[in-house]
Amino acid sequence: MTDQHDVTNKAVRIRIRGLSKAFGKKIVLDNLDLDIHEGESLVVIGGSGTGKSVLLKCVLGLLKPDSGSIQIDGQEIVGLNGSVMESVRRKFGMLFQYAALFDSLTIWENVAFGLIQAHGMPREDAHKIAIEKLSEVGLGERFATKNPAELSSGMKKRVGLARAIATSPETLFFDEPTTGLDPVMGDVIDRLIVQSVKELDATALTITHDMDSAKRISDRIAMLYQGKIAWIGPTENLETTDNPYIHQFINGLLEGPIKVSVTNTDRAAE
């Protein structure tokens, strides 16, 4: 199921082994193995409810897996909490699906939040960096003192991206970065993501079901199905692979190995 790819010579930044997570009887992640190498941008694709978000939350330490191992730069993070986990998270930047900006703070305070709270930077210095980062994502200084409620979805995403890159993290995570955006704005966000990852020389893990976005921002793509990696390979191999899961998913076919519930009976049987 795995195609040949050319990033295995780089050191592994995120190593996932035997990761399992279930909610009640529903198994979401099933003994999953995955390596993400330094400086690569890996996109995990898959249908709704296949466990993409759960995988991301486990790596971020927001969900505790039932079993398995997650190593960041060789450090085991499963079971870590408190200040040790916080020190691991200082290396992370995260763009949430709906940006998750803090309503009670202005735009620049949102961007500078990690610098001030987690890195102890004085507000004046953090303000300067926040303005720089906002400018990098195409938002002028006039937006700095606005509240998140005054911005459009696309602008919120850009602010979320500025917040994610403000601390110059080693690893970036993107949760459905183009969801809810028009195609043009989706393209803008994708370009900003590619640019940010390159400039920071960061490792990126993205989850999405937007295939155009996945192709634009990834070096490699992994497909998640029934809690396991059904296919993983370089992005350029996506169109040529004979993997039936990829073929069905990227062509949006109803027939194939991916079972989709389309009737009430099916749903009841799940």
Partner: protein, 257 residues
């Protein structure tokens, strides 16, 4: 068997909630005493809990004091015991009505607002965002609110006590014909240190309960707008019940012979 099963389930879920709440409370308390501290956030919450609650608590207190004087008069007049009105007003207000009514009013205003705010942050992933920004939500969101509640409620109750006694004075002097100087002298003579202290201890406990319930239900809300609505309702109901329960427990501790 069919009867025992739901009963068992109910008992198990009760202990599960008690366990979760105890862990949440102990985590919140431990973060109140461990750095980093957020003095600006504590001050902001103190203004939110105390200053903005003054109108509603003040109005409740003044009308309670007025009604207390009026009702006491209609009852005591039958036994020619009208002179005991200042005593009844000061004891009732400082021991019970001041802290309990202020607590219930603040639970409705502040507890609901906290549950809604934190609940919205939960369902919009803002709390997850805090974690990813290496900031502990217990330190940044919960601890400042709990500290503000514990520090502010006693001040609010002191104000409520004063306004409540003033309400009793207004009715007694201007409607029932009491001599102002005598009424004030009797009020001061009957005021006991222990009555005021017990009211303030209750207020601090109620401040803790209100903020803890608001934060707990908000923090664990899920399912979008409906979940936030349920969290808000649960925060107010549970805080109100706990206020009345702890009111009895603290009264027992202070006044049982």
């Amino acid at each position: 068997m069919p009867l025992l099963q739901p009963l068992g389930r109910l008992i198990l879920s009760f202990f599960e909630i008690v366990g979760r709440l105890s862990i949440f409370a102990s985590t919140a308390i431990s973060h109140c005493f461990r750095p980093p501290f957020y003095p600006k956030l504590i001050l902001k919450q103190m203004i939110e809990v105390g200053y903005y609650s003054l109108p509603v608590v003040g109005l409740t207190a003044i009308f309670t004091g007025m009604v207390l004087a009026l009702q006491s008069y209609t009852g005591f007049a039958r036994f020619s015991a009208e002179s005991a009105i200042p005593n009844v007003v000061i004891v009732s207000i400082t021991r019970e009505l001041g802290p309990v009514l202020a607590g219930l009013m603040v639970a409705g205003r502040v507890g609901a607002a906290m549950a809604a705010e934190i609940g919205t942050m939960r369902v919009t992933e803002q709390i997850d965002a805090l974690y990813t920004l290496a900031t502990n939500p217990f330190k940044y969101l919960i601890a400042p609110r709990v500290i503000a509640g514990v520090l502010t409620l006693p001040i609010l109750v002191l104000v409520a006590d004063t306004i409540g006694v003033f309400g009793g004075y207004l009715v007694s002097v201007h409607k029932l014909g009491f001599n102002p100087a005598t009424y004030l002298k009797n009020t001061i003579d009957f005021m006991e240190y222990l009555d005021v202290v017990s009211g303030l201890v209750k207020a601090a406990a109620f401040g803790f309960i209100i903020t803890l319930m608001g934060c707990y239900h908000g923090f664990h809300s899920k399912g979008g707008a409906q979940g936030v609505g349920s969290a808000t309702t649960n925060a107010v109901v549970s805080a109100s019940i706990l206020i009345l329960t702890f009111n009895y427990i603290i009264t027992e501790l202070f006044f049982s012979r």
